[in-house]
């Protein structure tokens, strides 16, 4: 109040929120540059509307070939593929997490010595470099067709995902709680068990459930390149032009993924 009355009327000071980029020239240059690039990029698309128009009825016929889904003819193969995918997802999640935990401890900046940190971080970064499909192609070449290649692919992918996120959660832990347990004379493993584990446990469980969900979906994709599971069944159905069986598989995958989504949401809320 005292300030406001000190400023004479008509001479109030103006205020604008400070801009994100301070230098006005840089701000405009970046904005115009981005707009120009976008315009040029759109220009290179060369959409042939005639061909799109021709393609629509063809696409429609393709979609119609999926109906009605046929669950009966290939039911045995479908069940086998599904069970293989679920087995692959569960086993790969468990093995991946078992490998991730020590790696995450090493990759957490606040608890690992510098050299260990860099080694573990590079390892995590390396396993995150390649997309699952590329890994699967490589492992299929290495181990031959079948679910084992798929399993190894998903383990590597799980390690990259889980170790990174767990390490970040460990880095975010409350140092006060960690310090208090250290001050009691606890040994390092006891300290992990009493100070670190309780703080990261909800996230560990949440990520595990989430990863299981992802691994199941991925198992459908990597099966297409020969790594077993329901993906392989799906691929076979497409190869035989049995689109109705393929539709049945897709419906089942969607159902299982939705179920997993729903369950994982519940579990994650419950462990908080």
């Amino acid at each position: 109040m005292a300030n406001a009355s000190a400023v004479p009327a008509g001479r109030s000071r103006r205020w604008r929120p400070p801009p994100l980029i301070h230098d006005a020239r840089l701000r405009w240059a970046l904005g115009l540059g981005a707009a120009l690039y976008l315009a040029l990029a759109l220009g290179t698309l060369e959409i042939n509307w005639a061909r799109v128009a021709e393609g629509i009825p063809r696409g429609w016929r393709f979609v119609m070939a999926f109906f009605p889904p046929d669950f009966v003819t290939r039911w045995g193969d479908i069940v086998e593929g599904m069970l293989e995918s679920i087995w692959m997802a569960v086993a790969a999640t468990a093995a991946g997490i078992a490998l991730s935990v020590p790696l995450a401890l090493g990759a957490a900046r606040n608890i690992a010595p510098r050299p260990v940190y860099y080694v573990c971080r590079s390892f995590v970064a390396l396993s995150r470099t390649f997309q699952e499909v590329i890994l699967a192609i490589f492992f299929v070449k290495l181990f031959g067709f079948g679910p084992f290649a798929g399993f190894i692919t998903l383990v590597v992918a799980t390690v990259g995902f889980y170790a990174k996120l767990l390490a970040e959660d460990i880095e975010d832990m409350d140092p006060g709680q960690a310090e208090a347990v250290r001050a009691t004379g606890a040994s390092w493993p006891q300290w992990l068990n009493y100070a670190v584990l309780p703080q990261v446990m909800p996230r560990m469980i949440g990520l595990a459930v989430y990863r299981l969900d992802i691994n199941f979906r991925e198992s459908a994709v990597i099966g297409i390149v020969g790594a077993g599971g329901i993906g392989a069944t799906l691929n076979t159905a497409f190869d035989r032009y049995e689109f109705d069986s393929a539709a049945a598989i897709l419906v089942l995958i969607i159902a299982i993924v939705m179920l997993a989504e729903y369950a994982s949401g519940h579990i994650r809320r419950w462990v908080q």
């Binding site: 409350d174 006060g176 709680q177 310090e179 208090a180 347990v181 250290r182 001050a183 009691t184 004379g185 606890a186 040994s187 493993p189 006891q190 300290w191 068990n193 009493y194 100070a195 309780p198 703080q199 446990m201 909800p202």
Partner: protein, 287 residues
């Protein structure tokens, strides 16, 4: 007895937090360490149990120099020093009992602690201490369900179950309301007297320090600038510790407190020498 000799802490940034501190705390003495933020109070008590590694100087607990200890010996030495923290520092997702028992981690093996199979004597002691601090009805509550005052009581029980010789107390009341602050300080004071514990209590509140400590040490920019009885804190001394300010309010208020009502009466008794035998009923009613 704790003896600190020429303690220096230089942080990697080049800041010198402690500039050769010498301090002796006899057995059973409750000492308050006051000083402005950044004076080095936290660093000083953390250098004692080496949560912060001292750069130079000695810290002797009994006649053992703690500064040179290796890993295992340091863990054994830490068992003899209980620590109480500003933000309670309880492990939020563990139960009250698990938090208290974590004070025994230095004494039990890994698998026992992993499966929470502590010796019965530890569990008896945990129940006794929780009763003593008035929380024996909350054993299986998770620490994050407790109020601030209750959490600090759990923190106190965790420190005491270590059977320490010395308590290191870092701003125990900074996150508590004035009434709870006094209750907590009184509890620490009483428990120290019961078990013959020495304590170093870092505290911002000069009045609380005067009420509950028998000796006051003033730290300013890493150096001790006052060491004496609570009633030696004159305006001139406070200016030396904290800098220029009108201290008349602080000092007068402290004197009024000493003459105040029932609560203050108890505090003063506690303050003088042997405190009264504590009444668990009275504590049990506290929240």
């Amino acid at each position: 007895m704790l003896r600190i000799e020429g303690l220096v802490k230089r942080y990697p940034t080049g800041d010198v937090a402690l500039k050769g501190v010498n301090l002796t705390v006899p057995d059973g003495q409750v000492m308050a360490l006051i000083g402005p933020s950044g004076a080095g109070k936290s660093t000083l008590i953390r250098c004692v149990n080496r949560l912060v590694e001292p750069t130079d100087g000695k810290v002797l607990l009994g006649d053992r120099d703690l500064t040179g200890l290796g890993h295992g010996a340091l863990r054994r030495a830490r068992r003899r020093m209980g620590m109480i923290f500003q933000e309670y520092a309880l492990v939020e997702r563990l139960t009250v009992m698990e938090n208290v028992l974590s004070g025994r981690l230095g004494y039990v093996g890994f698998w026992r602690s992993w499966f929470r199979r502590f010796p019965q004597s530890d569990i008896d002691e945990a129940f006794r201490l929780l009763g003593r601090v008035g929380l024996d009805h909350m054993v299986d509550k998770r620490a994050d369900e407790l109020s601030g005052g209750q959490r600090q009581r759990v923190g106190i029980a965790r420190a005491l179950i270590q059977q320490p010789e010395l308590l290191l107390v870092d701003e125990p009341t900074a996150s508590l309301d004035p009434k709870t602050s006094r209750q907590i300080m009184r509890l620490i004071r009483e428990l120290c007297a019961e078990q013959g514990l020495a304590a170093i209590i870092n505290i911002h509140d000069v009045m609380l320090a005067q009420m509950f400590a028998e000796r006051i040490v003033g730290l300013q920019a890493g150096e001790i600038v006052y060491d004496g009885p609570p009633d030696g804190l004159t305006a001139e001394v406070l200016t030396r510790i904290y800098g220029e300010e009108d201290w008349s309010q602080t000092i007068r208020a402290a004197e009024e407190d000493e003459e105040g009502g029932e609560e203050e009466g108890n505090a003063r008794e506690a303050h003088r020498a042997a405190p009264p035998v504590p009444d668990p009923e009275r504590l049990a009613g506290m929240t």
